[in-house]
Symmetry: C2
Subunit: 309 residues, 2 copies
């Protein structure tokens, strides 16, 4: 792998020297290293368009790393990864994405991930997005995540965009069967002229399904973020969504969370708050010796990452 990919792996995938587990490193559309294990097979789809990842039923505690990096401009990388998680498996999938661009043409990564969780399966999915490079070539990351949860399956998605991404459109769709649970924590930082668009669509189709959706945004400088979520409950179910945003400079945020209750036993709640950092918080940290900039940075960091477990 090249040095840019290696740098990204440290940032997005807890990379030390190599992982002692299954992995597939995608670099500029090619493969820069892969390994399967007894319980986890990563099989390239013919043509290089992505992977078929299979986790055997009952597999416990394994990590699966599938980072994707784009390291130069004039690149539009699209990958389709399908994850089949066997019954009662319990695994962690780390799927960070880094896009570096030193050129004048755009560099884009578009990861289309489908998760099929069998009965009782549990997945923790971590996704860190980052961009780097100082030219006018844009760094673009457009992930699509489709989640299908069978009976009592549980998926927790922790996604964070930590900076440097010029443009992102994030789409997440989920269908929940009986007793299934989806937890999503999303944090997005935009600065300069960056834009971020987020679209969630969660459909609770069978009784006792649950969704908990927490989105945190920081919009700095001239950046803009647009958030839209739809939670549909056509059954006995529980839905909670929360979107909080901090404005800095000339940042702008539009938040539009939608709840649809089509059953008397659907219980749906939403909260949203948009505003700037409270003055008292800055003052408190300054009395501890921080400059105003340091205090702001501390608050932003806590806001974006503090609730992630």
């Amino acid at each position: 792998m090249n040095s840019i990919t290696e740098k990204f792996l440290h940032m997005i995938s807890d990379y030390k020297e190599m992982w002692n587990s299954s992995y597939y490193i995608r670099e500029d559309g090619g493969c820069a290293g892969t390994q399967s294990t007894k319980n986890v097979s990563l099989k390239p789809i013919p043509g290089g368009g992505g992977l078929e990842i299979k986790v055997e039923p009952g597999t416990k505690g394994e990590n699966i790393y599938i980072p994707a990096c784009v390291t130069h401009g004039n690149m539009d990388d699209i990958v389709h990864n399908d994850f089949y998680i066997g019954e009662d498996a319990d695994v962690t999938i780390v799927a960070g994405c880094g896009v570096h661009n030193d050129d004048h043409e755009d560099a884009r990564h578009n990861g289309i991930h489908r998760f099929f969780l069998a009965k009782g399966a549990k997945v923790r999915y971590e996704e860190k997005h980052v961009g780097s490079g100082e030219t006018d070539g844009k760094k673009i990351i457009d992930p699509v995540t489709d989640v299908f949860l069978e009976e009592n399956a549980v998926m927790q998605m922790d996604t964070i965009q930590i900076g440097g991404v010029d443009k992102t459109i994030r789409r997440t769709n989920a269908e929940l069967k009986k007793g299934a649970k989806l937890i999503i924590h999303e944090s997005i930082l935009t600065e300069h002229e960056q834009t971020a668009e987020t679209e969630f669509h969660v459909d609770m189709q069978e009784p006792d399904s649950t969704v908990d959706l927490v989105s945190r945004s920081v919009a700095k400088d001239e950046s803009y973020q647009n958030y839209h979520s739809v939670i549909k409950g056509n059954t006995r179910c529980t839905g909670h969504s929360e979107c909080d945003a901090i404005l800095m400079g000339n940042g702008k945020v539009n938040a539009s969370p939608e709840l649809f209750a089509g059953d008397i036993d659907a219980s749906l709640i939403h909260e949203a708050a948009i505003g700037k950092i409270a003055g008292e918080q800055i003052i408190k940290l300054r009395t501890l010796g921080l400059t105003e900039e340091e205090a702001e940075a501390k608050i932003i960091e806590g806001f974006l990452t503090g609730y992630q477990m």
Copy 2:
């Protein structure tokens, strides 16, 4: 006026025998009585299409009644009323609407109201909507309310739809200047196959403007309600919106409140909750001797009207 109109006036306009104030009773597109006062003039627009209502600057404590009734089917009544409220005036406007239909053709009232509040003016606007009649002819009420608030003007809208309206599309738009304040309390009850659609669009354009929007819905039987609000803050301003809904039977509700913050000093908050009546509440009232139906009715009544001042 006919007996249906008179019945409606008791329901929607605190009518006893006659009002000792300015009024205009609209019945099936015609006039069933009107009166102006020294400070409040109600002038019909030529052609019967509505009224120009002028309130002199500094007018305090007057009530203005402008009920509108449709008393039979095959009627599509559209009225344009413009309200010009002078500086520092403080008045109450009662604008109920009743639609009765014993026929097989639809009966519809469409009131288009524009409010121009001058500096420091205060208006309390009350709007009660009700339908009656047992035939298959629909009772339809489609109000459009446009509110323009100059510096430090305050408008409080209390609107309630208490039943019998088959279909309603309610559109409310507001533009707020410096220090202006808009308070909206909306309550809608739908039952049977009724549908209600609500659209709010509030634009806070100048510093220190405030909006507080509270919507309460009860969707019974097979009825459906759709709520969409947009609160825009492009300045130092405060916005709060809250939409709560109770489901009964096969009632369905879609709530989609939108917040746009385009200024670091815009502070916007939203809350929403959809669900059925909590079992404990029913049990508590039943221990006081109420039947389950009486307990439910009590809770619904409190929910829809309790917060209205």
